[in-house]
């Protein structure tokens, strides 16, 4: 008992190491990988003297743990800023009333389609959906040019992989296709994928690892996953799909930054939002290899991909988001059985 009481007394003390008593702090929940976001937050602390206390999400929880946490904490928010690696969950939080409007001066030169009209969030540089190919197993002249080739009989279905389209960017991609093609056509596409037996795996990084290890010839994933594989020297290459003349392009997924409603440190939160939306941070993330599609002209070549001009799907973020509920319901019916 004595030990337990001592332990209880110690618990609050264990948090004392987080920040010194007089240093201003800001709490940021982020689904941007720790390896990329940590240096940015450290730079923010150096510049402003405000210590950023992050909570990171992980792919194992399908990067939805923090969103559920923000919703659960809505009555007494603990976070000041949400820095998301995609947009759909941010729009969801806006609809749930968890965000506060803030027209950041840093967002002035961000194109309108990547900003919320009511200033609840703004976009940052993003990632794109790409085809990842095993370079030992597929010759360059045979590289697939479109992700529709997932249905092409020349590729054995078991040699292809994609993440289960119920979570993360894979679900957002499905929502964008629903918006672009119409729900019926898109649904039939996924039904055919299921019938064909394309490998539906646990996450985008699993797709990359399967392709890198030769368990699949190619698959559908995100640019950041390919960049991670290239960094460690895996025999893989990225193909931006549907980029030819007349091609419909690929999904570009901007990151988003938002201020939390009734945040405990609103002023510090606004400063962090301004910093995260700045051109400097956009450039840092592109150089580091987290983002590969800039929203503004930066004259910086993305790491691992060179200076590619990515043709994006002609679907607005809002149109894609509007399809998300239906997508998740229908794709659960198709894939979870």
């Amino acid at each position: 008992m004595t030990v337990s009481i001592v332990c209880l007394l110690l618990l609050p003390g264990l948090s004392a190491g987080c920040a010194s008593r007089h240093q201003p702090t800001v709490v940021v929940y982020t689904s941007v990988d720790q390896q990329y976001s940590e240096p940015v937050l450290r730079l923010f602390a150096e510049r402003t003297g405000i210590q950023a206390l992050p909570v990171y999400d992980v792919e194992a929880t399908k990067t939805t743990g923090l969103v559920n946490r923000l919703v659960a904490e809505r009555a007494h928010p603990r976070a000041d800023v949400f820095w998301n690696c995609e947009f759909a969950q941010t729009i969801l939080l806006k609809e749930q009333g968890a965000l506060a409007a803030y027209d950041s001066p840093s967002a002035e030169d961000i194109p309108q389609q990547f900003r919320d009209a009511e200033h609840y969030w703004a976009g940052t540089a993003g990632r794109a959906r790409v085809i990842v190919v095993n370079t030992n197993l597929v010759k360059p002249e045979d590289y697939p040019a479109s992700f529709r080739e997932l249905l092409d009989e020349r590729w054995p279905a078991r040699s292809l992989a994609m993440a289960l389209p119920l979570f993360g960017t894979s679900a957002t991609h499905a929502a964008a296709l629903y918006a672009l093609w119409g729900p019926e056509v898109a649904r039939r596409f996924y039904e055919r994928l299921k019938r064909r037996g394309v490998q539906m795996v646990d996450g985008n990084s699993v797709v990359r690892d399967m392709v890198a290890s030769g368990q699949a010839r190619w698959g559908l994933t995100d640019t950041d996953d390919v960049a991670a594989g290239l960094r460690r020297g895996s025999p893989i290459a990225a193909v931006f799909p549907d980029q030819a003349d007349g091609g419909e392009g690929t999904l570009v997924i901007p990151g988003t930054v938002a201020l939390i409603a009734d945040a405990p440190h609103p002023e510090e939160g606004r400063q962090l939002v301004d910093f995260l939306l700045s051109r400097e941070v956009e450039g840092l993330l592109v150089q580091a290899g987290w983002c590969h599609v800039t929203l503004r002209k930066l004259d910086i070549a993305p790491a691992y991909f060179g200076d590619v001009q990515v043709k994006a799907l002609r679907v607005s973020l809002d149109e894609a988001y509007q399809q998300l509920d239906r997508v998740k319901q229908e794709l659960r019916d198709i894939f979870v059985r």
Binding site: P12, D202, A216, R232
Partner: protein, 528 residues
């Protein structure tokens, strides 16, 4: 002392069931709110969900059957290691339980891919996936648990009965007609526990491309579904879990009431037919491979000791946080587990209900537990607690304190009541008797339970992520972050560190129990 006990039982009830009650209350509120009612009702049930649940239950049953059969065969082989150092070494396979399941499954996939590449096979056929692969992966993951409980059961069989049977029948007949039926409660408990764990896990099936009912809950929750809907979706799992809890509790009660080491070793060694020996050796080989493959794959991925040191150095803060949570959970669980064990020991009708209450948290998805804790604690008056590591510790206590209680039940059964009476006769106060007599006798169970909870807390992810204070992360969170980043050498280095720490803790726990067992073995009650 009674007041202290009641307070501690109330604390356990708040820790384990407070989040559930808060979720149920939230579900009720969401049902009343027209905006969320539609979402809540859309959660289910549909025919697809019912079929998925039945499929998951059938899958879990088949995993339980496979793991139980393999476990009994391996246990029958380990049962014979009853003399000298082997007597203790035969329990060390249980250390496998402390390597995270997802990690074990991934290691096997990596091993398959490496083997396939070494054999020069074409791509696209190297990976394992599908129902059979998922079944095999889960059978292998849970077999250590079934071996452990089956071995407990076999060790509790009265040797005189077995020797009498062996006089007129073959050893194999004695095993199947006497030993296995007598050990059946523990064996059934093992199967029941495996069923529960398999039924509530989506990670390993998902990795091997098999859909499961827990994945349905997660997909709903991740799609912005209200927590009340996720709770409603979890109810069928709880419904299936309750009858299984009856089986499990009966078995574990029998196991706890006849601790290993209480019986003397058999006088003569078994003489099994050759084919039985072959099957036993295969089972032991599989058990050994289940430990060696993940360790070898991780060692290969880590590359060198300097990589492990580098990964450790990068994660110093996470290691400190993890150690603090594990230490606090390991210590705080002890008084809770002790008073729970007292209730579990009751022979009246209430005893059974305490078993249900203790084991029920095992069937609750960890993220839901986290959301429930936020509902309970997220108020301005609790800011100090929210900014500390209290909530991650509470997650660990809710999930793992019941397991410590199971250890404690076994330990309580070993305490000779005459020693307690002697303490009272000499006129000591109740507290002093407890401290000077009870506590030293309980020590091995306390150490084992505390270390077990500390080891499991160190690897907890689902609930901790939801409640971790800003600016603090655990080692498990860092590992999964690296996994996405593709830094396999760091993942391997930290996994080895985590597994090594957990293995050391578990080894210490089992050593504590073994020492106590060997000390009390052969000593008639009242002469200790």
């Amino acid at each position: 002392m009674r007041h202290v006990r009641n307070v501690l039982l109330a604390v356990f009830a708040v820790v384990a069931f407070g989040p559930l009650i808060a979720l149920a209350f939230a579900a009720f509120q969401q049902l009343l709110d027209p905006q969320t009612r539609e979402q809540l009702l859309a959660a289910g049930p549909s025919l697809r969900q019912v079929l998925l649940l039945l499929h998951s239950a059938a899958f879990a049953l088949s995993v339980a059957a496979g793991a139980t059969m393999l476990g009994v065969v391996a246990a029958s082989a380990l049962w014979q290691w009853s003399r000298g150092a082997w007597r203790h070494l035969r329990w060390w396979f249980l250390l496998l339980l402390f390597i995270p399941p997802y990690l074990q499954a991934q290691a096997w996939l990596s091993a398959l891919a490496m083997t396939s590449a070494a054999l020069g096979r074409a791509a696209g056929v190297a990976g394992a996936s599908g129902g059979l692969a998922a079944w095999w992966a889960e059978v292998m993951l849970y077999t250590p648990m079934t071996v452990g409980l089956a071995l407990l059961g076999l060790c509790a069989v009265e040797p005189r009965l077995l020797e009498a049977a062996r006089l007129g029948r073959s050893d194999l007949r004695a095993l199947t007609l006497v030993a296995v039926p007598l050990a059946w409660p523990q064996i059934a408990a093992a199967g029941g526990l495996v069923f529960l764990f398999s039924l509530t896990d989506y990670g390993v099936p998902s990795l091997l491309q098999v859909s499961s009912y827990p994945l349905e809950i997660f997909a709903y929750f991740s799609g912005g579904g209200p927590s009340g809907g996720a709770l409603l979706l979890s109810l069928p799992l709880l419904t299936l879990a309750v009858p299984m809890l009856a089986v499990v509790s009966g078995g574990i009660r029998a196991a706890a009431h006849k601790p290993p080491g209480a019986q003397r070793p058999l006088q003569t060694a078994f003489g099994w037919p050759w084919w039985v020996q072959l099957v036993q050796h295969v089972a032991l080989l599989l058990l050994a491979m289940q430990l060696l493959v993940p360790l070898l794959v991780l060692l290969r991925q880590a590359g060198s000791t300097s990589a492990i040191v580098r990964a450790t150095s990068l994660a110093r803060s996470e290691i400190a946080t993890t150690a603090a949570i594990a230490l606090a959970a390991g210590l705080l669980c002890l008084p809770l587990a002790y008073v729970l064990a007292q209730q579990l020991n009751r022979v009246d009708a209430h005893g059974r209900w305490w078993w249900y209450a203790t084991l029920l948290p095992a069937a609750i998805p960890a993220p839901l537990l986290g959301i429930g804790l936020i509902a309970v604690w997220n108020h301005p008056w609790a800011d100090m607690a929210l900014n500390s590591l209290l909530l991650p510790v509470l997650v660990a206590l809710a999930r793992f304190a019941p397991l410590a209680a199971l250890f404690m039940v076994a330990q309580l059964k070993r305490i000779d009541p005459l020693l307690i009476d002697a303490g009272r006769v000499f006129g000591h106060s109740e507290l002093r008797t407890w401290l000077s007599v009870h506590l030293p006798l309980l020590a091995p169970g306390l150490i084992a339970g505390g270390l077990l909870v500390a080891a499991l807390s160190a690897g907890e992810l689902g609930g901790t992520l939801i409640v971790a204070p800003p600016g603090r992360a655990t080692l498990a969170m860092r590992i999964y972050n690296y996994l996405h980043y593709g830094a396999s050498e760091n993942v391997a280095g930290l996994c080895l560190l985590l597994a090594g720490t957990a293995l050391l803790a578990a080894a210490a726990a089992f050593t504590a129990l073994s020492l106590r067992t060997s000390a009390s073995a052969g000593q008639p009650r009242g002469q200790a």
